[in-house]
Symmetry: C2
Subunit: 299 residues, 2 copies
Amino acid sequence: MTTAPLRTAVVIGCGTTGTSVALALTGAGVEVALVDDDPRATAEAVALGAGTPWTPERPPADLVVVATPPSAVVDVLHSAQSRGLGHVYTDTAGTKEIVASDAELRGCDLKGYVPGHPLAGPDAAGRDAADAARFADRTWVLCPYETTPEWALETLDALLAACGAQRLDLAPHVHDRVVAELSHAPHLVAAVLSSRFADSSAAFLGLAEQSLRDAVRTAGGDPWVWGDVLAHNAGPVADVLDRIAGQLTRAAALLREGDDSAPFELALTLEQGRRGQSALDDTRDDLRTPRDAPAAGRV
Amino acid sequence: MTTAPLRTAVVIGCGTTGTSVALALTGAGVEVALVDDDPRATAEAVALGAGTPWTPERPPADLVVVATPPSAVVDVLHSAQSRGLGHVYTDTAGTKEIVASDAELRGCDLKGYVPGHPLAGPDAAGRDAADAARFADRTWVLCPYETTPEWALETLDALLAACGAQRLDLAPHVHDRVVAELSHAPHLVAAVLSSRFADSSAAFLGLAEQSLRDAVRTAGGDPWVWGDVLAHNAGPVADVLDRIAGQLTRAAALLREGDDSAPFELALTLEQGRRGQSALDDTRDDLRTPRDAPAAGRV
């Protein structure tokens, strides 16, 4: 893999993702300029050593990383390209189909823009700290357009190398279905499950087992960030939610029928659940060594 | 709290729960006799130091613990009482209303029987090992009948003391609603979620985040044990499943409508989920020091 020179970068959005990317780039010797609507966020990222505040007199950077929520990406991208902030652009939003097609509809310069998504989401409050190693050994999805030139991808390869991430190219709609299944719908399921306990007494909740706390931990994530993500992946997420709701409704009906075969039929669902749990657990190591993942190239 | 002498016990059922109870009793100096339909299970428990195999010539024990799945408890209890195996009886099944009322209908001796449930369920394969400390500092629910005499409860207090558990008295139907909310319904939700991945490729599952693995870990539990438990708590579990399914269906509809207010309305659900997650996490320490739990006495 050849890597284009990556000497300067602008990171727009100093949340956990943007600051983590900036820290990794700075650590790799890239000169990073930071932008955020909130000057406190910029100051915090600067204090962490993620870079210096962006100033208008800078020449165009080799790379501009738009690390805003999905709903802001295209506006920010269009504005940054209009102002000539850099040569190559990417974003880190957790949904890709709307972002990639809106960028096209809005008239962004697609030659210099590669939609992307590093797979290490905003899980819970406790994992929100920016970290140069946040994406190390993790998969980083890119959604190049048919027309994306090789030089733009080389710059992205240099970004991923600086972050230690593994590249996986996916079509935007495939990416969105994958994250709907593995992340977005499960997040909403956890939130619905834990929402039942919002007003419960400590005496009642003290009877819960650790497995319930583990099951709903992801629901501790920022509601506004997640609301935005879910709304931008509405169709795929709704499909998964409807299917899960249907299975739960069928299980409830089976229980209410009180047929002697209920334990047996439930055990079939539970056995399939155990197989899924086991399959998921078996791939734990793949998280760190995703060599079994499809090779770069659209799937 | 006075504790009755507890010198001898019979434990029927050498699964994780029964063997753990037997280990704790043996550790407390109680002479424990072990029974299981499966001689290998008995032999394994004996090998762990949980006691010695039960033999018919023994005099009635101070306590008989029926540690079978819910569907077998009343048969085993009735048979054990008919044979005069002990003076006081309890069980450890995860559901209580059907067990407690069936014991009454079946004509078991209710004076000597106290339905019970130690709250440390069969979470996942990894937690299935028998352990004398399995119930230490955990809540142990008792469901005494109106007519249960004090001497029977004193023997139970001695059992709980040997296991290091905290007693919480609940009416059977209250117990069943509590565990439906905190354990049984969440277990089925996890199983339904993970059942989607039973036939997924490793490449796909390798893209999952740790939070998903944590969310479905409980689904690794024994399908037959759980099928039996769920079928014995059918009504309360079905109620919770229906409500969760309804919330998921509404969230899906909201997403499909694609209204501009969708992110806002989703954020309200997500915020309630975050509050519930936080409330649940705040009671983590109560697990080990459940002093805020309702005092012994029916609630």
